[in-house]
Subunit: 146 residues, 2 copies
DNA sequence: ATAATAATGAGAACCATAATCATTTAGGCA
DNA sequence: TGCCTAAATGATTATGGTTCTCATTATTAT
């Protein structure tokens, strides 16, 4: 995604909530748009350096999540990773390395995604659970850890 | 699963690791075998009462995970839930309620599971990632929270 | 029985995250 | 342009889930 396009979408969405799109928040959104998977506060802090202090970073993540710019992701104990929400980043799934904990995005083409959605409907169809989303997490070993 | 069968399988598996299957550990395994989804330490502690103190409970969970009796599961911020490992509990997927955080198991029949495995293979086939397992997490609202 | 080893439990320590609060910054308006 | 008000920031402190420590207790092997 082009940076300026993303910035416009985020800015507009935040505007609806009367939330300002400040420099620090832009940095966080940009760093996440460059990442190839969800990032924790600690990982982002490393990427960003001292220009965004941890306390501000945590608050920024919470603010951006509340406005549906970011989605939290849980795959390792005790740490929350964030990624751009689906409407910004596209629907995708995750490869979770059981060795190093890194999470990588994978895209699926429409045909595969349709088959997956059919499976989800098959599963929830019989229950009283109302589906809003699904996530296919594939665990294994990434190239580095094999 | 019959209690005695489960106990035998767990006991035998722990024996291979020279780990004792003590009363407290039996209580935890039993509580998880009765649960209809992954349970956190806090939830288990509520189920078990004061007979298994928290510090012992956490250690028991770690020990049982190390011997592949339990599998950790991450779906809400900052809390790890455990369930019996797949070889004891069967392969299944999860319905995660976005409102209350509860996680419920769902079984899939073989035909559906085959279709899902085919999708996973389609996705990882093109990459250098080596799959060991997959998890389909369906988010939405449980009956209580609708 | 006894020695050796593992398990237990109470409490302290740890670490990721959230809350506090004084200060700074930014947008609305004269 | 310069105030005024509300929002954002950042250093610090608090919180809560989890792990560690260590003295005590229980279990296994000889």
């Amino acid at each position: 995604m082009v940076k300026s396009t993303l910035d416009k979408q985020v800015s507009s969405r935040l505007g609806q909530d009367d939330v300002r799109y400040t420099a620090g928040r832009r940095e966080v959104v940009f760093a996440l748009s460059e990442a190839d998977g969800p990032r924790s506060a600690a990982e982002l802090s490393e990427d960003l350096g001292p220009s965004v202090p941890l306390s501000s970073l945590y608050r920024t993540l919470a603010v951006l999540e509340a406005s549906d710019i970011l989605t939290p992701h849980f795959s390792s104990p005790g740490v929350t990773r964030y990624e751009l929400a689906e409407w910004l980043n596209g629907h995708h799934h995750h490869l979770v390395c059981v060795a190093c904990g890194q999470v990588e995005d994978v895209e699926t083409d429409d045909e595969v995604e349709q088959r997956l959605q059919a499976i989800v409907s098959d599963i929830t169809g019989r229950s009283s659970f109302i589906e809003s989303n699904h996530a296919l997490e594939i665990e294994g070993k990434c190239q580095n850890c094999q």
